[in-house]
Amino acid sequence: MDQSMVNKIKAMPQFQQLVAERSRLAWTLSAIMLVAYYGFILLIAFKPEVFKIVVMGQYTMLGFPLGVGLILLAFVLTGIYVRKANSDFDELTQQIRDEVKQ
């Protein structure tokens, strides 16, 4: 990629929109995952008694839904990203590619 191409793409509004939207989404979702996981770890380290709260019957305690919830959260967050990327980001990328080809 030569410098004129770099400058051309950099100046495109679609490119700026792609970069801004993608990084906002990626960092937001990363932050949610990091806060959820390290929150969980800190809870284990500093407030383990929370895990003894019984949530159902006599044997199902908070730890079980919390753990499974974290696994589901990981899956759902990746799903949100893929959905958004497949529709919006890919379209912007295609526009940039088309314009560069001309």
């Binding site: 950099k10 990626a26 960092w27 990363s30 800190l42 753990g67 696994i71 589901l72 990203y81 940039i96």
Partner: protein, 543 residues
């Protein structure tokens, strides 16, 4: 034709080996299933060998794997026999702690998805070093990446081979040495002849088998518990010596530093494993790369939920059953709860299935590791440093030789470490990955001012500190070397070593005022545009 004959010969050799191995001989369910798997995968290797001509075919299966297939293959690469048997065994012995551990292995995947997967695909070609060397100086960055990558691969390989030997010995009654040699020969056959295409399909088949087997077991456990978690947990609590303690946080996580440190090693280590990173170059574009991570996250997360149910099921239905114990100890060792549960649920036939699955699991992971190690040698060291004028044929030939050498080395190391305490090795591999390849990759993709000097010095500091702190920590200093007290009190030092690597990269890039550094900073824009748009990225080959 010659290839066909040698593969058939290989299959016949294993048939006779398996026939001699056990008193039940060739007609035991597990032996039959084992042979079906071996013959099937060798057939795939033959098919893949016809399609593996170029370097691109060998390293990345021509870049033509779909996102769904790659998601399964990633899951197949990542769900090792150690994680299936190890995590169910951990749940069996400590209950809820097993789930905490399993979660750590999953949470790296969303981060890989959001920050790395598309960029990796858009920038890379065959190995992760391609990504880092986009704007950095070839020789130093390739040598550093190859060394870090090979160190991770070898540590992981030793753990897998020793585990494989012990497991196959228990399941099929062959000697440890024979088991390790069989694994070594099979993966050499898969990888040298079939390259990434055969490796990918072995991983896909293994993932499907493992997920089906684990699903069947979890459903069986829930069936016996009237499909109620409450009943399952009640049975488990009443059966376990620790009683209610298995339902909440136990002794796995001792202090906050160790807890956070373990989390960092698992989360960011996943994002730095060479055999995992390499899988991103097998798909045709960034869209398929992100789809792979989505499917992989789903399969791996589902699998870890199953392992928790299976572990609890083993407490409820295996613990206390005299059939599976002798002298108060579990037959076959502490890692066997899942295997015995398979027998309790589905008899000899299902035990045979799970044994064959465990074997397939080992092969798939070892094949992926060997291919990643061989690529580091042939692509990064040979073709880009030692002999930059090498033809493609030369490069592929070197990678095949490297595969054979690594396979033999794996056999040798497996036997050499047979009776050593190797519990620390996977942890060390994750810690090194989190402190070397991960920081170098992420910084090179996100930080404009990074330079070659920063990458190599920072990454090397991460490597040295990771090795030193693990060796001086309780896992090696006390448990392996027999000293009374560890110099580094933390069982996992990733919190410090990852920080050392990042600060090292930052500092040595900042103070780098060389002319070369200025060029590298300028190249960031072109790299950034390619990483975002995929313009100029490697496509899939056309056959």
């Amino acid at each position: 034709m010659k290839l066909m004959t040698s593969l058939i010969g290989l299959a016949a050799l294993f048939a006779s080996g398996a026939a001699m191995a056990d008193d039940g001989g060739l007609f035991q369910p597990k032996t039959i299933m084992f042979l079906i798997f071996v013959i099937g995968t060798l057939g795939i290797t033959y098919w893949a060998a016809q399609r593996t001509k170029t370097a691109k075919d060998f390293y990345t299966a021509g870049g033509g794997i779909t996102g769904f297939q790659n998601g399964l293959a990633i899951a197949g690469d990542y769900m090792s026999a150690a994680s299936f048997l190890g995590i169910t065994a951990l749940v069996y012995s400590s209950g809820y702690d097993g789930l905490i551990y399993a979660i750590g292995f999953l949470v790296g995947w969303p981060i890989i998805m959001f920050l790395m997967s598309e960029r990796l695909r858009n920038l890379g070609k065959f190995t992760f070093a391609d990504v880092a060397s986009f704007r950095f100086q070839q020789t130093p960055i390739r040598v550093f990446s190859a060394f870090a990558g090979i160190a991770i691969v070898i540590l992981y390989l030793i753990a897998q081979m020793v585990g494989a030997g012990a497991l196959i010995q228990t399941l099929f009654g062959m000697s440890f040495e024979v088991s390790v040699v069989i694994v070594g020969i099979l993966i050499i056959a898969y990888v040298t002849f079939g390259g990434m295409l055969a490796t990918t399909w072995v991983q896909i088949i293994k993932a499907v088998l493992l997920l089906s087997g684990a699903t069947f077991m979890a459903v069986g456990v829930m069936y016996l518990s009237n499909f109620s978690f409450e009943t399952l947990f009640q049975n488990a609590v009443e059966n376990h010596a620790k009683g209610m303690d298995i339902m909440y946080v136990g002794g796995l996580v001792k202090d906050p530093i160790s807890a956070i440190s373990l989390g960092i090693a698992l989360m960011f280590g996943t994002a730095g494993l060479p055999h995992i990173l390499m899988r991103f170059f097998t798909v045709p574009n960034a869209k398929e790369a992100r789809k792979s991570v989505f499917y992989a996250t789903g399969f791996i997360g589902y699998f870890y939920i199953l392992t928790f149910i299976i572990g609890m099921g083993a407490v409820a239905f295996v613990l206390g059953n005299p059939q599976y114990f002798s002298d108060g100890k579990m037959i076959g060792g502490n890692n066997m709860p899942a295997v015995h549960l398979a027998h309790a649920l589905g008899g000899d036939f299902f035990l045979g299935f799970i044994s064959a699955v465990a074997f397939a699991t080992i092969l798939a992971v070892v094949a992926g590791l060997t291919l990643a190690g061989a690529s580091a040698i042939s692509h990064d060291l040979y073709a880009n440093v030692i002999n930059p004028n090498a033809t493609e044929q030369n490069e592929v030939r070197v990678s095949r030789v490297a595969t054979v050498v690594l396979g033999i080395l794996a056999i040798y190391l497996g036997i050499a470490f047979q009776s050593q305490n190797i519990a620390f090795m996977v942890g060390l591999a994750f810690t090194i990955a989190a402190s070397t390849t991960f920081p170098v990759l992420i910084m090179s993709m996100f930080w404009k001012d990074m330079t070659t000097r920063g990458a190599v010095i920072g990454g090397t500091l991460g490597l040295i500190s990771a090795v030193a702190m693990v060796v001086m920590g309780p896992a090696v200093w006390v448990k392996v070397l027999g000293n009374a007290e560890a110099i580094v009190p933390y069982s996992n030092p990733a919190l410090f070593t990852v920080a050392i690597a990042f600060v090292g990269i930052w500092l040595f890039s900042k103070i780098d005022n060389s002319a070369r550094a200025a060029i590298e900073r300028e190249l960031f824009e072109a790299q950034f545009i390619r990483s975002q748009t995929g313009i100029g990225a490697e496509g899939a080959s056309k056959h």
